[in-house]
């Protein structure tokens, strides 16, 4: 499922400007690909798929997305006013600042949702009260 879902997510990402899809949906699909791996093989395997700090990935997405609103500001237009390339690129579609913004959203959504899912699964390590003993993840899996 992993390559299939990732391909679908990228398809959704570029399809999204005038049709259902876009950075948010694409990002959700990509992160669900990773989360499915985590459900099937555990968080260690899932972390190996995309070995980055997801928080940094999310921040990068925000930065990247916000960046592409700026050209309009420098051109004396309202923030996020769209700029498009005159000709569509074959196979990808029309490219302009909204697509680049969507790519930023894509990374942010992957980063945030995957980070949340991983935190929930790996929670015992980060459990706030050390005086309460928590069951390690591996044991829970054996019980299940």
């Amino acid at each position: 499922m992993l390559p299939l879902l990732l391909m679908l997510s990228i398809f959704m990402l570029f399809r999204g400007h005038n049709l259902p899809g876009g950075g948010f949906i694409g990002g959700l699909l990509a992160s669900s690909a990773i989360i499915l791996q985590m459900v099937a093989f555990g968080p260690k395997v899932a972390r190996r798929i995309l070995p980055v700090n997801y928080l940094i990935l999310a921040a990068f997405g925000v930065f990247f997305g916000a960046l592409w609103g700026l050209p309009a500001l420098f051109a004396g237009l309202p923030y996020m006013q769209a700029f498009w390339l005159p000709e569509p690129i074959p196979g990808v579609g029309k490219i302009g600042t909204p697509v680049l913004f969507d790519i930023g959203v894509y990374f942010t959504v992957i980063g945030v949702t995957t980070k949340i899912a991983l935190l929930l699964v790996e929670e015992p390590i980060l459990f706030p009260f050390p005086e309460m003993k928590s069951v390690p993840v591996d044991h829970q899996e054996e019980v299940a």
Binding site: V62, L73, P78, Y79
Partner: protein, 505 residues
Amino acid sequence: MTFHLFIPIVSPLIGAALAVLLHRQWVVVRALTLISVLINLGYGLWLMSVVPQSGPLVAQASGWLAPFGISLVADGMSALMVMLAALLMLTTVVYSFYSVDREREAHFYYPLLLLLLLGVSGAFLTGDLFNLYVWFEVLLVASFGLITLGGSREQLEGGLKYVVLNLLGSTAFLFGCGLMYGFAGTLNMAHIAERMATLADPGLQTVLAGVFLFAFGSKAAIVPLFFWLPSSYHTPPVAVTAIFSGLMTKVGVYSLYRVFGLLLQNELAIYAPWITLIAGLTMVIGVLGAVAQMNVRRILSFHIISQIGYSVMGLGLASAAGLAAGLVFTAHVMIVKMALFFIGGAAEQINGTGDLKKMGGLARREPLLALFWFLGILSLAGIPPLSGFIGKLILLQVGVSQQAYLITAVAAGTSILTFFSMLKIWNEVFWKKSYEDVNRLPRVRFGLLAPGAALVILSVALGLVAGPLVEYNTIAGQQLFDRAAYITAVCGADGCEAVYRAAVK
């Protein structure tokens, strides 16, 4: 069209994202935070210099036309609030440099502050009701992070109350948005204001006003929706409490002013007696709640509530003059309240506790700190020639001129109670002899003293040169109450309905 109106939103957003990306270099993070806040401050000052003459400035996001896209509108009140938010954030950032531990800094303390500034600036500038909700969420999420950062037991306890009760308010706000959209068919504030005049369903309009009063009232901590505030504000670090006291409840007050001043002007006449009653109760109950407390920051937290009563009283007077007076007072109290939190917090850090019984003797040990505290409480109580005097004087004048004698008397009486309550901290922390040897306590560092001192000096200056402030706010109050000018600024001379009709055809 003022395309650069987005700067106060873009600068903290990019600043926060970069600060997370570069979170290992703490020098870079601090520099980024400072630069973003300074950009906002400069832009806010520029806005304040322009807006009184030019009327509301407007920008349409992505260039989408007004009733369809999201508009940003900066009128006198927005400009003042954007500037104040940046100014208060600047003092908080400086205070944080000297007081916040490395552990918190490493866990995205400064990016969270910037996100808070982002949410607050967005809320002050937006001209769209649902967008206001979104900015509220942004600032609330950032504040959830800030209030629980550190994860100690009492922080989590306070944070839980804070989160749950704020979510309740947000839900009510969302209900209100939905009702409004179903009722008026639009969420653009100018368009709503225009349609409100023609739609005749007084019952539903009154319900809408009630929902918004509850929603923003719980954010602003009015009676009886205030209890989340004193139970959570004393738990995070001093800098966080201070910026919360300066900004969070005031965003609620701002939204009340905006929604009742612009959208539901007709309902304001109906609700005015109730709002005034709530204002009076908020003043008195806030001050009385402080009496029983024996912790510096808890006392100050109750006083936030009491002061909110004065801001709401400006709204209850239901006139441009009343709103202007409320704005003067709100601006004053944002500055002074934060100053008191900074100074009280510095005293707390020297003593290592905020418990009044265990503190003492600081007047001899730290005379400067004591001096600024004393000036601060004089200003809060409203002694001339400090800014609190001006703020209260104008409010009381408007109250008397509108024959609202009862609320005016309550407001005046509460001032005396406020002063008594503040003197308690003065006596316990600064004046009485300490049980311990005061000379063993650490000296206050310059960075802990300077932000509070700067704000107190600003308060003194505003009191001495009150003319421009009052003039500015008179214009801001008129702009806030002037529906026609707002609609013209956002949608053009023909109004939003004309643009809407033309596009729908």
